[in-house]
Structures are given as C-alpha cells and as structure tokens.
C-alpha cells in the first residue's frame, strides 16, 4: 500500500472524504455481518457455505480496496453518490 501523502492532501476536504468513505465501507461491512449471522444458523449445505464464504472474501477485498483508496487516492471518494448529498 502506498502510504505517502497524496499531492495537496492538506487542502483536501477530509471531513467530506471521510464521510463518503465511511458510507462506502458500511455496505460490505453490512454484508459481512449478515453473512456471519447466516453461518451461525448452521443450516447451509457445503455448496451454500462455500458460496457465502466466497462472497465474504469479496466483501473483505472491497473493504481493503476502499481503505487503500482512502490512503492513496482520497479524491475518488468525492465522486461517490453520497458526496452529492
């Protein structure tokens, strides 16, 4: 992960960026929470369990990607739908 400061980061609207990033990260986090609840029900067959775990991995990747973008490309969050609220 590139942890160097993005160019001009001191001048970025960080409050708005953080708000947008939180919004974006909440979606995959919500899916992970529901997935854990589904697995706790212990009523899935092997194929269904595998499908849920594959989806969980994709949601983890999505969170990881969002966090990396927040560090390296914070301006991208200014183009998300919530940024226009």
């Amino acid at each position: 992960m590139d942890t160097s400061d993005p160019a001009g980061s001191d001048e970025l609207p960080w409050k708005k960026i953080i708000k947008c990033a939180v919004h974006e990260i909440r979606s995959p986090l919500s899916s992970l929470r529901t997935s854990v609840e589904i697995l706790k029900m212990n009523r899935l067959d092997d194929e269904q369990s595998q499908k849920v775990m594959t989806m969980m991995n994709r949601q983890i990747e999505a969170i990881s990607d969002q966090l990396e973008a927040l560090v390296a490309r914070p301006r991208t969050f200014l183009d998300t739908p919530v940024s226009h609220e």
Partner: protein
C-alpha cells in the same frame, strides 16, 4: 409512516425484495430472509426494483439508496405511488439528517443504517408483519 400487515392479503409466505447494486450484498440479505422462511428476490438498481415489484408483488422491499440508472429515492417514489401498502425500508450507509429526510419524503417507512444488525432486520419483520415473523 405507514403500517402494513399481511393479515389482509391472504398470503402465507412473506415476499421480500432486496435492492442493492452490490450483488453480493443483495444475495446475502436475500439468503438471510430465505433461511428465515421468507421468499426473497433481488434487484440491482431502481429500475429493476420497479419491474420486480410489478412481477413479484413483494410485501417488503429493502432498498439501497445510491444506485446506478435510478437511485433508491426515485424508485421509492414510483413504487409508493402505485403501492400504498407495501413496506419500504431504506438500507443505506448514509446516516445524515438530509438522507433520512429524503427517505421519508420519498415514501420509505423506515431508514436503516448499514451495517444492519440481524436483530434490526428481524425487528422490521416483527414490527410490520407480526403474523409472519
């Protein structure tokens, strides 16, 4: 905010439509409701949600707000215009006063913020569909 009940629909199975442009998010939530004995379908944006409401006739719609083609606000307005008794729940990462105000104005019955607790989802069923939760 409107209240609704299945008691006067005559249906035994609760039909739930989950609308989210994150397909995994929609599929996981639909699986959650199916494991709870409901019939669930998914849609990927507002336009598809309107089509699914017409074809599937759901009792409950859980819908994200920020979606391509047609957002959740506009979809809710159009669905509500023709379905006064359907229960519309916004499920979104937005918890701003502005987002909540807009969901109410668009015809949503409830605004849930992600990450939604499973008990919050069950609470929706208990509140609006006490005979089917």
């Amino acid at each position: 905010m409107s209240e609704s009940s299945l008691t006067d629909t005559g249906d035994r199975s609760l039909r739930v439509l989950v609308v989210d442009d994150n397909r995994d998010a929609a599929d996981i939530l639909a699986m959650f409701f199916e494991l709870d004995g409901k019939i669930a379908k998914v849609a990927g944006d507002g336009e598809e949600a309107i089509s699914q409401v017409a074809a599937f006739d759901p009792h409950l719609v859980l819908m994200d707000l920020g979606m391509p083609r047609m957002d959740g606000y506009e979809a809710a307005r159009r669905i509500r215009a023709h379905n006064p008794r359907i229960v519309l729940v916004a499920l979104t990462g937005s918890d701003s006063d502005e987002a909540i105000r807009r969901t109410v104005e668009s015809g949503f019955d409830l605004h849930l913020v992600k990450p939604a607790m499973p008990d919050s989802l069950r609470g929706v069923l208990e509140r609006y569909f006490p005979n089917h939760s």
